[in-house]
């Protein structure tokens, strides 16, 4: 599984990355997590607001921090 956290590096984007890593550790799921700050790549996903979470090329949410159980559901799928 490949996970991309999109965001130019504000507090919320870091929070999303941390929550994702924490959820992965809790679930025991192996995944590659990348924090994407490059504007061109962020916009390539059609995202208008950050932070955004992309799992295996699919945008899961944009502009908000998902709830922990919502996050875990995506990571387990």
């Amino acid at each position: 599984m490949k996970i991309e956290v999109l965001g130019s590096g504000c507090k919320k984007c870091h929070a999303l990355e941390e929550q994702t890593r924490a959820a992965l550790a809790e679930l025991g799921v192996e995944a590659e997590v990348e924090h994407v700050t490059d504007m061109r790549r962020i916009m390539g996903y059609g995202v208008l607001s950050t932070p955004a979470l992309v799992i295996d090329g699919k945008v899961k949410c944009a502009g908000r921090l998902p709830a922990a159980d919502e996050l875990k559901k995506w990571l387990q799928a």
Binding site: G7, S8, G9, C10, K12, C13, M39, R40, I42, M43, G44, Y45, G46, V47, L48, S49, T50, V54, G57, K58, V59, K60, C61, A62, G63, R64, L65, A67, D69, E70, K73, W74, A77
Partner: protein, 353 residues
Amino acid sequence: MTEHSNQLEPTAIGAPRGKSAWAPYALTITGAAAFALIYRGLKPAADWLTYDLMRFAPKTHLGEAVNFFLYDTAKIFLLLVTVIYGVTLIRQSFSPQRVRRALGGKREGIGNVMAAGLGVVTPFCSCSACPLFIGFVESGIPLGVTFSFLISSPLVNEVALVMLLGMFGLKVAGLYVSAGMVTAILGGLAIGRMKLEKQVERFGVAPEDIEEERVPFRQRSREAWDHTKGLLRKVGPWVAVGIAVGAAIHGYVPVDLVARWAGKQNPWAVPVAVVIALPLYSNAAGMVPIAQALYAKGMAMGTVLAFFMAVVGLSTPEFIILKQVIKPKLLAVFAGILTAIFILFGYLFNAIL
């Protein structure tokens, strides 16, 4: 961009449907009742704390400063919690994606008015400014219309509104919202006229529409609550410091000093206030109580409002971020137009209020 799915997968988290259907109404009614009850008790509680419990003598500088600090802190924080939470819940229905869809194909003029209105209810954090700006422009929304949205969204925000409502009342808060929207419309129209499209970096990304799923109410209310707590943690200390400084000004600064420097008869007060306000972004919430105290001591209302609009509407961090996608000339035009409009509003309000 065909590899990415445009569809967000639906989630089924939260209360069962039947249970969550009445939750918004129950919460609103209980919340409003609790708010009214607490709000009415604040003044007697502050009086009791100051004059009975702590035994400050009424009608002294110190006693009044302490009383002012206690009452205003409690009032502002109650308003902040209530309004931020309520506004966040409403705002969840407005995403930048939906705004872009709504603005697509709109002409200038009507487009500017719509963008300014949608900016009021659609939040974006300043680090989203780039993808938002480019995403709007590349999908064909005129530059001026995009700027109308970019100006109104941070300028008319819930923290500013609460602070003005709590410290100056409904009339001033209303004036501020209207002035903010007019600024966004005029600023966007002016930038649109200037044909500065070449000043924007082109990325050539195909605009995509991401469908967003409906999030159940229980989860939305939890997100709204988390957002409220986060925002309070951020602005809370500034508000407390601002109220403390305001209380000191209320208690100790003589009236004629402020009135002489920042009153209506000093024509330089408005531009000087706007220039001082430019770098003060992160302290916006804390500035209102100080401004309110200065107003009480004779600073003119228009000067206060122009100052506050400049604090909130022109932010250094947002400029640094936008520099990645907007060339310096357009950034300078953007800042110049906003500064000019704020100064004009300052003189206008000083003349009519």
